[in-house]
C-alpha cells in the first residue's frame, strides 16, 4: 500500500502539502515542516521586492476558523532565492508561490524562480492584499493569460491557486487548464471581515481578511467537486483539513493531494503524518490499492 501521488510530472512521497502563507518564509521552517512529514511544502507568496504586509492585528480566531490579513509579507525575490537554495540542498519538495501586480512581474518572478523550485504556485486569489493584481483570480480570461505567460517562462509545473468562488470555479479552473497549468489548488481563503462592536470599527487594519480553517471547508470542498467534473488536470484540495476524514472527503470529491494550513494551530506539525496514517488505513480497509483509485469516487451516481 503506497500513498505517493503524482500531479502530472510531479511526484510526491505523500499527498499532504503545507499550504502557502503558513510558516513559509524561512528555509529552516520549510525544512522543519517537510521533516515533520509533509509530501511537499509551499513557500509564502513571493513578490519582486520585500513586502512588510499589514500591521497587526493580522489574525482573528473565530473559534470555527480564522480570519487573517497578513498582507503577503515576504522578504522579496532575492532573499527568498537564498532561502530556497538551502531548502533544496536538503532535498525538500518545494513549491514556490508567487504574486504580482501585473503579468510582466509574474513572468519575471517565474523566470527567476524556476531553477530553485519543483513547481510554481500562482497566487491569483489572496483576498487580503491591497492594490491591483490579485483580483485576477475571479476573471477567467485573465487567469488563462497569466497562467500561459508564466507557463512559457517556467521549466517546472505551474499550479494555479484560485479563490473559493463556487459559482465560477468551473470556468476559472478551465481557464487555468487552457493556460497550461499542471494542477489547480482549490481553494485560497474567502474574503471575510470582523467588526468590533465596542469601537464600532473593523478589527483588521486591512479591513478584509481571508477566512480559513473549519468554516472554509464546505465551500472549498464544493469547488473541488464542481471543478472535477470539468477538468482533466489534477486538483489539490485546500481549506479546513484537520483530519484524515477531511482529507479523504476532498479526495472523494476529486482532489489528488491536499494542503494543510490552519489546522497546524490545534493539531501541531504532527498533522501531516497523522493524516497519512489515516488515509493508508482507510485505503486498506476499503481494499483500495492507491490514492488514484479513490479520487473522485463521490461522483459515482
Amino acid at each position: 500500500m503506497s500513498i505517493n501521488v503524482s500531479l502530472g510530472a510531479l511526484s510526491l512521497r505523500n499527498p499532504t502539502i503545507l499550504a502557502s502563507g503558513i510558516l513559509g518564509t524561512t528555509a529552516s521552517s520549510l525544512i522543519r515542516v517537510y521533516k515533520s512529514g509533509a509530501g511537499a511544502v509551499v513557500s509564502k507568496s513571493i513578490s519582486i521586492n520585500p513586502n512588510e504586509g499589514y500591521k497587526t492585528p493580522v489574525l482573528i480566531d473565530l473559534g470555527y476558523g480564522y480570519i487573517n490579513s497578513m498582507g503577503l509579507p515576504n522578504p522579496g525575490l532575492d532573499e527568498m532565492i537564498v532561502e530556497f537554495k538551502v531548502v533544496k540542498s536538503k532535498k525538500v519538495k518545494l513549491f514556490g508561490s508567487i504574486f504580482a501586480s501585473d503579468i510582466d512581474e509574474f513572468k519575471y518572478l517565474a523566470s527567476k524562480l524556476t531553477d530553485y523550485v519543483d513547481a510554481l504556485e500562482l497566487n491569483l486569489s489572496c483576498p487580503t492584499k491591497m492594490g491591483v493584481g490579485l483580483e485576477i483570480g475571479k476573471i477567467p480570461w485573465m487567469v488563462e493569460e497569466t497562467t500561459r505567460e508564466v507557463y512559457k517562462k517556467s521549466k517546472v509545473p505551474v499550479i494555479v491557486k484560485l479563490p473559493p468562488l463556487v459559482t465560477l470555479i468551473d470556468e476559472l479552473t478551465l481557464a487555468a487548464e487552457d493556460g497550461g497549468a499542471s494542477a489547480v489548488t482549490l481553494t485560497n481563503t474567502a474574503k471575510a471581515m470582523k467588526i468590533d462592536v465596542f469601537s464600532k470599527k473593523p478589527i483588521l487594519q486591512g479591513v478584509y481578511g481571508g477566512l480559513s480553517g473549519k468554516a472554509l471547508k464546505p465551500l472549498s470542498l464544493a469547488c473541488v467537486f464542481k471543478a472535477y467534473e470539468v477538468l482533466s488536470i489534477p486538483i489539490i484540495g485546500c481549506g479546513g483539513i484537520y483530519s484524515w476524514e477531511d482529507a479523504v472527503e476532498y479526495i472523494l470529491a476529486g482532489a489528488k493531494a491536499i494542503q494543510i494550513g490552519s489546522a497546524i494551530v490545534s493539531e501541531g506539525l504532527g498533522i501531516f503524518k497523522k493524516i497519512c496514517i489515516g488515509i493508508k488505513k482507510y485505503l486498506e480497509e476499503n481494499n483500495i490499492d492507491k490514492i488514484n483509485d479513490l479520487v473522485g469516487l463521490a461522483h459515482r451516481r
Binding site: 510558516l23 497587526t56 497578513m70 522578504p75 468590533d196
Partner: protein
C-alpha cells in the same frame, strides 16, 4: 484561554517609571496562566503586540508595558476603567522540574516582568529563589520589593542608583565564584541571554531563557517569529526555551527578521 480580541477593564495601574507601567485587568473568563506566557494586547487604531504576564491571581492579570513605540505610548495614555483588548495566554512558559531545590532568576530591563510570576510559583513549591535584577535605574528594577519578599535579591543598575553599578551578567558571574545553582532562568535583552548561555555552558549549569522576535499572529501560523536553524517559533514553541535548544539557535545575538522577513543584523 481568550481566543479573540476582547476588551477587558483596567482596574488598576502601577507606574514604575516614566516609561514603564503595569496595567491590571479584571478577567471574567476562567483561564490558566503559566509563568513566561504572553498575551496579545491591542487597542483600536493601534497595533496588536505581545506582552508577557507579570501578575495573575486567577482573576486579575498584570501586564507590564514599556512605552517604546507608537502603540505602547497610546496604551500608556489609558486610565483606570478604560479597556485593553487581549487574547491568550499563548506560548510555553518556564518549567520548574521536580527535585529542584535552588534557582537563580536573572532579569534585565522590562524582561524582569514575567519573572515575578516564576519567582512566586517557585517559592510556593518551596524552591529557594535568588534573583539578579538589572535595569537602567532604581525605578526600573521592576517589582524589586516583591522579589525581596521571595528571596535574596542582587540588583544592578546602569546609573549606579541601586546595587551594583554595571551589568547584571557581571553580577551573576561574580556570584558564581562563591555559589552554584540547579537552574538559571532568564529574560531580558538578547546580549544578556547570549552571555548567560555561554556562562551556563562554561560552568555546566542549566538554563531556561525567554526569547523575543517579531510576533504577528501569536499562534504559530504566520512564521514571522521563526528562529534559525531549527525553524522554531518563538510564539508557539517558545518563548521560553531550554539550554539544549538555546545552544543550537545560531541566529541569537547575530540577527532577527524584519516584518517582511528580511534578516537584520543585531549589531546595526
Amino acid at each position: 484561554m481568550i481566543v479573540s480580541q476582547k476588551p477587558i477593564e483596567i482596574v488598576n495601574i502601577l507606574t514604575h517609571s516614566n516609561r514603564i507601567k503595569t496595567f491590571y485587568l479584571k478577567l471574567k473568563d476562567r483561564i490558566r496562566v503559566a509563568p513566561g506566557q504572553f498575551m496579545m494586547v491591542w487597542i483600536p487604531d493601534a497595533e496588536e503586540i505581545p506582552i508577557s504576564i507579570s501578575y495573575f491571581n486567577g482573576s486579575t492579570m498584570g501586564l507590564t508595558i514599556a512605552a517604546v513605540g507608537e502603540t505602547t505610548r497610546q496604551i500608556h495614555k489609558l486610565k483606570i476603567h478604560d479597556s485593553l483588548y487581549v487574547r491568550g495566554p499563548y506560548g510555553n512558559g518556564f518549567k520548574i522540574p521536580r527535585g529542584i531545590n535552588k534557582i537563580w532568576i536573572i532579569g534585565g530591563g522590562y524582561g524582569i516582568a514575567p519573572l515575578l510570576l516564576l519567582a512566586k510559583k517557585a517559592s510556593s513549591m518551596n524552591v529557594k529563589v535568588i534573583s539578579f535584577l538589572g535595569a537602567r535605574n532604581k525605578d526600573e528594577l521592576l517589582f524589586y520589593d516583591q522579589f525581596k519578599l521571595l528571596g535574596e535579591v542582587f540588583a544592578s543598575t546602569d546609573d549606579g542608583s541601586e546595587g551594583f553599578h554595571g551589568d547584571v551578567t557581571t553580577l551573576v558571574e561574580k556570584y558564581l565564584s562563591v555559589s552554584k545553582t540547579d537552574l538559571m532562568y532568564a529574560c531580558g535583552p538578547e546580549d544578556m541571554i547570549v552571555k548567560l548561555i555561554k556562562l551556563a555552558c562554561n560552568h555546566n549549569l542549566n538554563l531556561q531563557a525567554s526569547l523575543e522576535r517579531l510576533i504577528k499572529c501569536g499562534i504559530g501560523l504566520c512564521g514571522s517569529c521563526c528562529l534559525d536553524p531549527l525553524g522554531l517559533r518563538v510564539c508557539r514553541d517558545g518563548p521560553v526555551f531550554p539550554l539544549k535548544i538555546l545552544v543550537k539557535l545560531n541566529e541569537l545575538g547575530c540577527y532577527y527578521r524584519s516584518p517582511s522577513g528580511v534578516k537584520v543584523k543585531l549589531s546595526d
